[in-house]
């Protein structure tokens, strides 16, 4: 994964120009195999730019005026299934982040991430692997926690995590890297990625009822 065959084209979507230029500078300077080909500051700009530029990866802000990252995903996901979206958020509101993940983002990292880690995350989502930060792993565990008295699962197959998936998520939330999780659980890194992928799929497909209930329980909505 370290030797790039060709550069990964990235479009940055964030309503803060200062933040965009910061990320661009950091990616361009430190990472030869990732190049920022475009920027957008609003949902409409983002939709137009992504349609036009066809990037490999979109770094997508969660909070934007007129709809936010989830709106961009809603408009472009069906049309451009090959473009990979990575949520890059300063928000700590689980409900925002989960909303973007549900809309089809392949990962979520916070804005305090270093340039090197961000480039690594871009490479990983481009390679097809989901990227979870510990915090997102915590959010997802909470969404799927089967507490007594919680809403009944709509579709058991989708709404329940297997024990292995739960173990993987727990270790992610504890701050382990995929490689460390593999060592801890005596499985291959590929298997870890498969588990995380299926968690991501379940997050995107699990019923809305339970999520909204979970969010309102926590006074998030």
């Amino acid at each position: 994964m370290t030797e790039p065959e060709n550069t990964i084209k990235v479009v940055l979507v964030d309503d803060h120009a200062l933040f965009r230029s910061g990320v661009r500078a950091e990616l361009d300077r430190a990472v030869p195999d990732v190049s920022v080909v475009g920027e957008a500051g609003s949902v409409d700009e983002a939709v137009a730019a992504i349609r036009h530029l066809r990037p490999d990866v979109v770094l997508l802000d969660v909070h934007m005026p007129d709809g936010g990252g989830a709106e961009v995903l809603r408009q472009l996901r069906p049309e451009l299934p090959d473009v990979v979206f990575l949520a890059l958020s300063v928000s700590d509101a689980a409900e925002d982040v989960i909303a973007v993940i549900r809309a089809g983002a392949r990962g979520y990292v916070t804005k305090t991430i270093s340039g090197r880690e961000l480039a690594d995350a871009v490479r990983r989502v481009h390679g097809g692997d989901p990227v979870f930060s510990p915090r997102l792993a915590g959010f997802v565990l909470d969404v799927f926690s089967q507490k007594p008295g919680a809403a009944p699962p709509g579709d058991p197959e989708l709404d329940l995590l297997t024990r292995r998936e739960r173990d993987v998520l727990r270790l992610l939330a504890r701050g382990y890297a995929y490689k460390e999780i593999a060592g801890e659980l005596f499985i291959s890194v590929k298997t870890v990625e498969t588990h995380v992928s299926s968690v991501l799929r379940k997050t995107q497909l699990s019923n809305r009822y339970e999520l909204s209930r979970w969010a309102s329980d926590r006074r998030l909505v």
Binding site: S91, D92, A93, T112, P134, R135, A137, G138, L141, D142, S145, K147, P148, R170, A173, R174, G175, Y176, R218, R219, L220
Partner: protein, 398 residues
């Protein structure tokens, strides 16, 4: 009297009926009992006292809510006695006197009582209460008052006029009322809409001011500080980290934006411990809590303190910029993991004089029935796993 004469206002506190007598007494500088007695005496003469009282009630404004005065029990009883005496005297006068007093004291008296009820309800001081709590009693009182007025007027009219005329008059009055009501509907609607709009604007304005005040107190101050200390990267990072955490809590925290978190539960305690370590040792400590919150008891407090010590150890000895904290709250157990990717150490090599781990972590957890598992590999970092059995409420009570 050298002091200037106070303006004529009705008393708000310490009033018996509407505070008119007290207000007049304040204004004239005479004992309130004299004023009351004067009203009673006038009341016996064709209800003139009552009429004067009523007019003053309607036209004199009430004093501000800040003024408070106590009414002695004796004065209150005395005033009520005087009021009863006045009513009785007026009735006696009516019974003895001519027709005029008779019909005023009869139906119009009932109407006056009804009007008094409605006015009292619409009174400045009462109106506020009306919109909030106890709205039902106020409503009933108003309705009862209106019925009194209607009944009084109706009886009065029936007594004075022929039935045919009454029918006609009632119809005419009804038609006029309906007409006026219909004609003024747009005006009412506009009034209500304008009031709603104004209220909404005021709320938005208050909220804007609150946000501005918060940003001024927090972010702007920190940015000013950062500009002055831009040559000290460590200090700048510390300030920025602290400010980010504070603003984040304010925006997305447990209580939602602007609302301080009400309960100081496990989550809040952990966040506070992480924040302290962040500020003291200039490392990022990122706590993730799963499974909801739980009120702190002494065992969980010990868990948080032990966890804090583990964070301090990681911050001091691991030589890393970030420490992960993960807390999982289950029904019967709370697990806390503190992990760094730092230098690591061999637990067997820790000298005996190092108290941090032995006392603060192991000792605390042992005393409260918890367990500690320590995993450290030189070069790969350290993880401290603290587990505490969670007590149910019944167990905690015994």
């Amino acid at each position: 009297m050298n002091t200037p004469t106070p303006p004529l206002v009705r008393r708000r506190s310490g009033r018996i009926v509407a505070g008119v007598a007290g207000g007049v007494a304040d204004h004239l500088g005479v004992p309130v009992t004299w004023v009351r007695a004067a009203f009673i005496a006038l009341g016996a003469m064709w209800w003139a006292g009552a009429l004067a009282y009523g007019l003053l009630w309607v036209f004199v404004r009430q004093e501000s809510a800040e003024v408070t005065r106590a009414t002695p029990r004796r004065e209150r009883q005395q005033a009520l006695g005087l009021a009863a005496l006045g009513v009785a005297g007026a009735l006696v006068a009516a019974a003895l006197g001519n027709d005029l007093v008779g019909w005023i004291a009869g139906p119009l008296g009932v109407a006056a009582v009804g009007a008094a009820l409605v006015w009292r309800e619409a009174d400045e001081g009462q109106r506020r209460r009306w919109t909030r709590t106890g709205g039902r009693t106020a409503l009933w009182r108003t309705v009862a008052g209106a019925l009194f007025v209607a009944a009084g007027i109706a009886v009065f009219l029936f007594g004075q006029l022929q039935l045919g005329q009454v029918q006609f008059a009632l119809l005419a009055v009804l038609a006029t009322l309906v007409g006026v009501g219909v004609l003024t509907v747009p005006w009412w609607v506009r009034l209500v809409r304008e009031l709603t709009e104004e209220r909404r604007e005021r709320i938005v304005e208050t909220e804007r001011a609150e946000i501005a005040a918060h940003l001024h107190d927090s972010v702007l101050q920190t940015l000013a500080l950062i500009q002055r200390q831009s040559d000290q990267p460590r200090e700048v990072a510390r300030l920025a980290r602290g400010q980010e955490r504070e603003l984040r809590t304010w925006l997305y925290g447990a209580g939602g934006y602007g609302i301080p978190a009400s309960d100081a539960g496990l989550t809040a305690a952990l966040a506070a411990a992480a924040a302290e370590v962040e500020d003291t040792y200039a490392v990022t400590v990122a706590p993730v809590v799963v499974g909801g919150d739980r009120p702190l008891d002494e065992h969980l407090r010990a868990l948080v303190l032990a966890g804090r010590e583990a964070m301090v150890n990681a911050a001091k000895h691991a030589g890393v910029a970030e420490v992960s904290v993960y807390c999982e709250v289950e029904d019967d157990e709370v697990n806390l993991f503190v992990r760094d990717r730092g230098s690591g150490f061999d637990p067997a090599d820790v000298p005996d004089d190092r108290h941090g781990l032995a006392d603060s972590v192991h000792g605390r957890m042992d005393r409260h029935g918890g367990t500690v598992r320590l995993r450290s590999t030189p070069g790969e970092g350290t993880e401290v796993h603290l587990a505490m059995r969670a007590r149910t409420h019944e167990e905690a009570a015994t």
